[in-house]
């Protein structure tokens, strides 16, 4: 019994060491989203191209990607070519949320860099962004056939991230 007590500090030290070591190198910038496995929040906003057309959550039909973007966001520019590729070559539906942006600027951008989006929701005040828990554009969500949010990626969608997203989408499709 006493011998075990002597070993107790060592055991505690090793336990604490392992616990802390486990945390090293983890990305502290991504925070788990509480919206996972919840339906898309309801909204009533206009389409980016057509000011008179009101779009709502019913217009977002999965399985699809939902991409939050803006012209003021440099990373959005970086990932744009990849989104074009996903939409054109792989035929994946991508919905856009134009987040706290200027309508005219966004239209010019899409003309210049091509438009991968099936539909673009214009969210100038970031209301939908707030309901989605957006904290840094670009953010990309996977919406399943029932309109449930299944996955969230914060940051650029590059080839590596897309492969991950595609695997997630295939998993959903198989279920």
């Amino acid at each position: 019994m006493r011998r075990l007590l002597v070993l107790l500090p060592l055991a505690l030290f090793i336990g604490l060491g392992l616990f802390l070591w486990n945390g090293i190198g983890k990305d502290t910038n991504t925070i788990p989203s509480p919206l996972l496995n919840k339906p898309m929040p309801s909204f009533a906003l206009t389409s980016l191209y057509d000011e008179s057309r009101v779009v709502s959550a019913a217009d977002i039909k999965g399985p699809a990607l939902l991409n939050v973007w803006a012209t003021w966001c440099p990373t959005c520019k970086q990932e744009h070519a990849q989104l074009n590729k996903i939409a054109q070559e792989e035929g994946v539906t991508i919905y856009g949320v134009n987040y706290k942006d200027d309508r005219a600027k966004a239209k010019v951008w899409l003309e210049k860099y091509l438009d991968p989006y099936a539909l673009n929701v214009f969210d100038p005040e970031g209301k939908l962004g707030l309901d989605l828990g957006v904290y840094g554009a670009p953010e990309t969500y996977i919406i399943d056939a029932q309109g449930i949010i299944r996955y969230k990626h914060v940051g650029e969608v590059n080839q590596r991230v897309w492969e991950q997203l595609r695997a997630e989408m295939q998993k959903l499709g198989a279920n």
Binding site: N29, I31, P32, P34, L130, L132, G133, V134, Y135, G136
Partner: protein, 156 residues
């Protein structure tokens, strides 16, 4: 010179104040609630700042939302729930009690209790050992010899 310095300091203070106070409230109590909540809600983008401190756009949005909710008469719990359903438990600087946070809340107290118990047990053992052997510092053989000598002394 000193007066000039004082004036300059006062000017600086005025400017700093102006950058923060842009909200108007119905009454002083609401203002206090705003200050308290803004200090306790964490900015999701700049993680070591609360939304009152941070200059990031998202913190500004959350302050606006907080102000709007306070003006419409939402309770503190409603506001905290609103933030948590969107940004997760993460936004709370003081996490709520749940089976995920028991370790966080009770861990330090538990460690303190364990520490006190260990100290008491160890010191208790030392005392009882010292009591059994006496303070003479003699080995068993020496003690026996001492007892014999003392007995002899008594016999004579």
């Amino acid at each position: 010179m000193r007066a000039l310095l004082a004036v300059m300091l006062l000017l600086c203070a005025g400017v700093a104040q102006a950058a923060i106070d842009t909200y108007e409230f119905n009454d002083e109590a609401t203002r206090e609630r705003f200050t308290a909540l803004a200090a306790e809600l964490r900015c999701p983008k700049c993680q070591n700042q609360n939304i009152a401190d941070s200059n990031s756009p998202i913190a500004k949005d959350l302050r606006d939302e907080l102000h709007r909710m306070l003006e419409t008469g939402a309770s503190d719990d409603e506001i905290v729930d609103f933030m948590v359903t969107r940004y997760g438990e993460f936004v709370l600087y003081r996490p709520r009690m749940s089976n995920q946070t028991y370790l966080l809340w009770y861990g330090p107290a538990a460690l303190l209790v364990i520490g006190i118990v260990v100290v008491l047990v160890v010191s208790g053992k030392r005392k009882s050992k010292a009591g059994a052997k006496g303070d003479s510092g003699l080995s068993e053989q020496e003690q026996q010899r001492l007892d014999e000598l003392l007995k002899q002394d008594k016999d004579q």
